[in-house]
């Protein structure tokens, strides 16, 4: 089953066309990695998928329900329901600094999804345990390392029970050691068949975790396929040049 279908997506900032004609499918349980140089539009694509940016043209369909058709958005009410089908993990974590770890994880499920407080809290405890942060429930974000903060952010996203998780360069603000912490968590999620779309610069990681790799450049998808094909045997010149630079 397709959880996300994107067709002919276009997006401009003033005169700059950032996404030219993007079409992309994400199936249930799939892990899709988006690679590409800075300014290629990969983060903008993820932000359009997360509805933090509005698109100028094209369609986006979530779990069979259209959110945008030919650049026209559905009503607020319909979008609200669609938005609950995914969550996003940010590069800079964006935890709420005045909430404890537990409150960061549980506040939205309780006050937005109106779920039972006890149930949400026990889910939150389980998630923290899974993230190796069981003893940090009462800490504030500033008392945690970057890697710990990002794991809290992932737990916060998971506690919304999304069908899909989007990651916007989740390790770019972290040093190599902390990056490894996060990649381990993502790997576990992939093994549990969590549907994920990951914008990343970690090529080796993308190869090991992804079912599909997308290479973007200049607002277009220039190459798409199994990681072995795109990363090890790129057919596109631009992909080849980019990967070669990384090897050096």
């Amino acid at each position: 089953m397709k959880l996300l279908e994107i067709k002919n997506l276009r997006k401009s900032f003033d005169d700059l066309e950032v996404l030219k004609d993007i079409s992309l499918d994400v199936s249930e349980g799939q892990v899709v990695s988006i690679l590409g140089p800075s300014g290629s539009g990969k983060s903008t694509l993820l932000r359009c998928m997360s509805m933090l940016e509005t698109v100028d043209g094209g369609s986006m369909i979530y779990c069979g329900k259209p959110a945008v058709e030919d650049g026209k958005y559905r009503s607020k009410g319909e979008l609200k329901e669609i938005k609950s089908s995914f969550s996003l993990v940010f590069q800079s974590f964006n935890l709420f600094p005045h909430y404890t770890v537990m409150k960061n994880i549980c506040d939205a499920p309780i006050h937005v999804m109106k779920r039972d407080k006890k149930e949400v809290t026990s889910d939150g405890e389980a998630l923290l345990k899974k993230m190796g942060l069981a003893d940090k429930a009462d800490y504030y974000p500033y008392q945690l390392s970057g890697g710990q903060q990002q794991r809290v952010a992932i737990a916060r996203a998971l506690n919304m029970k999304p069908k899909m998780l989007f990651f916007d360069e989740p390790t770019s603000a972290l040093d190599p050691e902390l990056t490894a912490e996060i990649l381990k968590v993502l790997k576990e999620l992939a093994e549990e068949k969590m549907t994920m779309v990951i914008v990343t610069h970690e090529i080796a990681f993308a190869r090991s975790i992804s079912d599909k790799v997308i290479f973007m450049d200049g607002g277009l998808i220039v190459e798409e396929g199994a990681p072995a094909d795109v990363i090890d045997h790129p057919s596109n010149d631009r992909t080849r040049a980019f990967l070669k630079k990384l090897e050096q």
């Binding site: 933090l52 609200k80 940010f90 709420f96 506040d107 504030y140 974000p141 500033y142």
Partner: protein, 227 residues
């Protein structure tokens, strides 16, 4: 011997001055607390107006802030007090003197607080708004749960400044002949041909502001539970 006698006179004299000034302290405290009571929340509404995406409203509020900041508070008090009579020929009662002081001070301080709030709100990182968006908070939830607490922390030092200025500004009520502590001090000084009441008044302001600074500092410390 002369010196000693004068010294012995000093304390009863000081006590008499203090008792007289005490009669005005109530009025000073009244202006202070009522202004804060009205201007702090009003400032938030003004800040919302200033940041509104509805252009006519934000322009109107901008004009209001510009006038309030661009003219003396003393003049504003005069306008509030005499305006109703000269503009609309409304006869105002004597009680209106007090209301005019509170209205004038509240409108003035609301404008300053509004700009402080605006700075505090805009200092909350964009990522916080985006996280709220992703988690599905409504605009109201986002403001009260996420933005407001961070704003309060951001603005405390600036608010302390403003509150301290207010303590001293209360003396401007004399412009419309509302008798507060400093007015009394000036009257006593003139009547007894001594500068002592003015010193006592100065000491009063200093102690008042010392307390204000202490209270604000402890609130700042309380807000240090997050960074």
């Amino acid at each position: 011997m002369m010196l000693l006698a004068e010294k012995a006179d000093l304390f009863p004299q000081l006590l008499a001055i203090c008792l007289k000034l005490l009669g005005g302290v109530g009025a000073t405290l009244g202006i202070f607390f009522l202004t804060l009571l009205f201007a702090l929340p009003l400032g938030l509404l003004v800040a919302f107006g200033r940041m509104s995406r509805f252009k006519p409203l934000s322009l109107l509020v901008k004009l209001y802030i510009s006038i309030v900041r661009g003219t003396p508070l003393m003049l504003q008090l005069l306008v509030v007090f005499f305006g109703p009579y000269y503009l609309f020929h409304v006869r105002t009662s004597n009680e209106y003197r007090f209301y005019a002081v509170i209205i004038g001070f509240s409108l003035n301080y609301a404008a300053y607080f509004a700009e402080i709030y605006r700075a505090g709100i805009q200092a909350v990182p964009k990522g916080q708004h985006e996280a709220c968006e992703i988690l599905g908070y409504t605009r109201t939830q986002k403001f009260f749960k996420i933005v407001f607490p961070q704003m309060v922390k951001n603005i405390l030092p600036a608010v302390t400044n403003e509150v301290i200025t207010l303590v001293k500004d209360t003396s401007l009520a004399f412009a419309i002949a509302y008798t507060e502590m400093f007015t009394v001090a000036k009257q006593v000084a003139a009547a007894q041909a001594t500068i002592m009441p003015l010193f006592v008044a100065g000491l009063f302001y200093y102690v008042f502001n010392f307390v204000v600074a202490f209270v604000m500092e402890s609130i700042e410390k309380k807000m240090n539970y997050f960074r």
